[in-house]
Amino acid sequence: MKLQSMKTRFLTICLILFSSSLVFSSETEEEGAEFNPQAMITHHVLDAHEFHIIDWNHHPISLPLPIILWTENGLVTFMSSAFEHDDSGKVMVARNGGKFVKLHEKIYQLDAGANTVSFDAEHHPVNASKPLDISITRNVFMMWVSVIVLLLIFIAAARRYKKSENNVPTGIAGFIEPLVVFVRDEIGIPMIGEHKYKKYMPYLLTIFFFIWINNIFGLIPILNGANLSGNIAFTFTLAIFTFIITTFSGNKNYWKHIFWMPGVPVPMKIFLMPIEIIGMFVKPISLMIRLFANITAGHIIVLALMSLIFIFKSVFIAPVSVGFALFIGVIEIIVTAIQAYIFTVLSALYFGMATEEEHH
């Protein structure tokens, strides 16, 4: 009964947060020009150079983030506030002898004499170059917030064991331990095997909680679409890690199965070799796309449902939109854990395949 009422309250809070923040952020775009849901959704799903929180009285309130560029003249750093919230390439920032503009969250270094970026037919800039951008973007910022949260939670949990005399989990460790044991007993041991799983546990645990918490952060509306785990760069990097670990863990048996499949006739061996080699790369690519697509799709659905209100310009659409968004939101809460679990399980499965001993 109590749990039920808490659940209801939690859902209500979710609903309020979801609807309010999205409505706020969409409002401004409504004011100036015709509402463009595609631009709004793209803006929310992709990375950004400043942490936009809310528009208040036509004035955007946002957290400026450092922009770090590697140009021909060396490292250039300045705060994103220098662009004055401009994303259309109009505001020019001169630093270290270079002139920079920001257009659709991409930073261009203008050639001498140019004032705006112009593009050719293939959308390549003709009078500007793209410096190597390693800015602390919204996603990098949220990633670091998630890292701090993870460190706080797990180091606090680990401390609990040191304090207790007989390793009894108390306080936060009581919440963390079942999850850690779940990753060990349901992912590590069955996928990799009793004897070898220990070596991979830190990676599996880190990747599981890192993806999960960033999936959850992506659902918190006030953080305004910090869509880190729905960004292909993030999933690409994690998939690369899994690929590297799999490749370097590969034993003789693993490589034999790729290059010279045992137990089949020679023509079949030759036929299977390219397939297996492709499979080696398809595995991490599937990891990358699965996580990216699932999380991004969730974001796009919720945003699209909210956009309906502004497309129809009717407040009566709101209950429908909010209802569906709530439904999707609840599913997304489950998806956060499922996607983290799937990524971890498949990583563990690949490690298990790479380290499997011959038993024919």
Binding site: A158, Y161, N166, N167, T206
Partner: protein, 167 residues
């Protein structure tokens, strides 16, 4: 709008994700996963060993119980044996005492009989002697009486001669 930007990984985010992830992995490995997994497996080990110890204790308990039963049985048997022995000893003592007493009694009876016999003999002898004396006295007096006349003396001689004939 360029839709490929969704699936083009930006270098900056790849760069920071890689660095952050390695950092997170190393820190968590040292300060979280090792202590937590260590504590969990330590606890599992201790539970396992505690269970084994309990099993051991149970077995030992059973052993002890059977030992106890055995000892009890032995003790009972010993007690029975001791009681039996005691009874035997008692019986033997009693019977010995009885025998002793009987022997003693027999002896006393025999002495008494012997005494009585000798007393009786003495008494009989005494009586005999007195009877003899008395008889002699009586005979003396009778003979004195009878031999006071001549006739009487002759008669006696005759009687006596008659007796001899008879013999």
């Amino acid at each position: 709008m360029d839709s490929t930007q969704f699936v083009t990984p930006g270098f900056g985010l790849v760069f920071w994700t890689a660095i952050t992830f390695i950092f997170l992995l190393l820190i968590l490995k040292k300060f979280a996963w090792k202590p937590i997994l260590g504590a969990v497996s330590d606890r599992e080990e201790s539970i396992k060993s505690a269970l084994a110890a309990a099993e051991e204790a149970k077995k030992e308990m059973q052993n002890l119980q059977s030992d106890n039963e055995r000892i009890l049985k032995e003790a009972r048997a010993e007690r029975d044996a001791m009681l039996k022995e005691a009874r035997e000893i008692k019986e033997s003592i009693v019977s010995e005492a009885k025998q002793q007493a009987k022997i003693e009694a027999d002896k006393m009876v025999r002495t008494a009989q012997a005494t009585i016999e000798s007393e009786k003999k003495a008494a009989v002898a005494d009586i005999k002697a007195q009877v003899a004396t008395l008889s002699v006295d009586i005979a003396e007096k009778v003979i004195k009486e009878q031999l006071s006349g001549k006739d009487k003396q002759l008669k006696l001689v005759e009687d006596m001669l008659g007796d001899i004939k008879l013999n």
